[in-house]
Symmetry: C2
């Protein structure tokens, strides 16, 4: 190789290596690859840059970087019914052989005959009966096992995937991005705290002690073997929804979040509580607009109704995610093998 | 210097440097300098070594290294009265000018006249009245401020030091030692959660979201300025004491501790719950045996009664700290200057 062409060759090599390096750096730099570029994604990255810039006017010390997320409809799918309701219905079916009376007794009869009209006719009282039998009269350990057993075999009716694989890929990236920037991520959900804790650590990287949710009364009892157990009773203790969310945040976290994400009117007060604090604050809403890849619903929906919170978002300049437009992917690829820890 | 003596000199130098290095290493190696050597200290360091040894039979992954500590009498002093009661009494005095009727109305009259016999005559009902007026009817933010204001000016009657400087030096070392070994440290106290959170992070390095305690009902309200507040109501919500401790641990942490420390019968169930788990477990009790440096009390004490838990400790082989014998120091040196964050 003559000297000139050699220099030319190495110059080309250097340029191409440089280009590769740049591409690679760019790929590494995008912490939210499943989010399409645009004002929504930018509002998130701008906020994180702002509160993590040392010496900046909006800097927030890591200990105060509390981020709270609703679960149903915000981190995972909530249609056609809340997944916890699907669990309760399946539990009734599984428990039926030991309860022959249920064959003639509503709302259980309706569940066993898949007559959802009869179940719905039982209203809230009927649903509470279903929740009660499936969520109480057992130890906390036994309940946790029943949730994990169910996740292993139950499949979503439309997507035919395990329920805990129907988490939103863009939100997984957001959780990881926030944690990489010193945030502590919490779930603040109307769902049952004992229903979520067995699986959320593997699904979202959120440990059980960072889960706030609704709860039933639990009692300490000394077992016959001299070993204590915690028994779940059929009595509601706390509903972590609507105005209950700031109350739950206060009780469990004891600090006001600087970042919160929800998707329905049940999240309105959490978002209000978050944004009412001093300093930089972020409020986000997932707007379900994609009936092809997931579901489209808002003001008229029975599940995940988004009406007042959508108005508040517009008035307050909150970030509203248009699922169809802002999300490149909705769910992670379907798991190749289904195991206890998908 | 002749060659031989030079070699001798350098050999001596090496030996003495080595000795210095060893001393320094030894000093660095003792993570619990305020604990006297002996079986109690050894039981702690042996346990930590055991659960943190990769590949060992008792290894526990960091995420499961949950350590829970009672507060009153375990992390800070609880005599002559629970410090939260001292706070409530002082609050009544501070609020009295706005409540002229208290001059003639028990138990407030007794508080204002320092007639503790009259206050005691009011029994639990009287105490609850005192707690109610000092702990409710205000926002969570206002209450937090009242606690910090009080800590700044109030002094312990015997030690004449700020209450939050009367924390136990050996326990501060233990908390730091556990955290350095991947443990997550929690407070699980019968004391009020809102009373502890404003100051425990600075005192113990335990953030508010790792505090479990008793609580009153809190309500979300929209303020006249359109900003939401959380109002503290005069209604007990949860008592985190006795059998309530495992319940509180289950609710807030959602994992069973592998390490727990208490000092009274109110901690018995927490210690039972902890040790009933599978794998290596540690249960510890601070036995107050030092009336010279602090207080001596156990089976007959009205405050911090240690009776059944002492029997359980003996039966179960738990670690019982003899304060007089096992602790080199009780409190940290008195703070040179008293500020908002001692």
């Amino acid at each position: 190789m003559p000297a000139v062409s050699r220099r030319y060759f190495f110059a080309l090599l250097a340029i191409s290596l440089g280009a590769v390096a740049c591409d690679s750096a760019r790929a590494q730099q995008d912490p939210l690859p499943s989010w399409n570029d645009g004002p929504v994604k930018k509002s998130i990255t701008d906020f994180v840059a702002k509160v993590t810039t040392q010496g900046g006017a909006d800097f927030v010390p890591p200990a105060e970087r509390i981020a709270t997320f609703d679960n149903d409809g915000t981190l995972w799918c909530e249609h056609p019914v809340y997944f916890q309701v699907a669990f309760a219905l399946d539990q009734v079916k599984a428990m039926a052989p030991k309860h022959p009376g249920w064959k003639t007794q509503q709302p259980f009869k309706g569940v066993l005959e898949k007559d959802m009209k009869a179940v719905a006719a039982g209203g809230e009282k009927g649903l509470l009966q279903i929740i009660a039998v499936s969520h109480s009269g057992m130890t906390t350990d036994a309940f946790s096992k029943s949730v994990l057993d169910w996740l292993e075999i139950a499949r979503h009716p439309r997507f035919n995937r395990p329920y805990n694989s129907l988490v939103y890929q863009p939100m997984l990236e957001l959780l990881a991005y926030l944690r990489a920037n010193g945030f502590k991520t919490f779930i603040v959900s109307g769902g049952g705290i004992e229903f979520m804790r067995p699986w959320v650590e593997k699904a979202y990287g959120i440990p059980p002690e960072q889960v706030v949710g609704s709860s039933g009364v639990v009692k300490f009892q000394m077992g016959a073997d001299g070993k204590p157990v915690l028994m779940k009773e059929a009595k509601v203790e706390f509903i972590d929804d609507g105005p209950g969310k700031p109350v739950g945040i206060n009780r469990f976290i004891g600090r006001r979040p600087i970042f919160a994400f929800g998707n329905s009117d049940g999240d309105l007060q959490m978002l209000q509580w978050t944004t009412a604090g001093t300093g930089a604050r972020f409020a986000g809403i997932v707007h379900h607009t994609d009936e092809v890849r997931e579901y489209a619903y808002d003001r008229q929906s029975r599940i995940g109704k988004l009406d007042k919170a959508l108005d508040a978002a517009k008035a307050g300049g909150w970030t509203v995610v248009d699922m169809k437009k802002d999300w490149k992917e909705v769910f992670p690829p379907a798991p190749a093998t289904i195991g206890r820890s998908p």
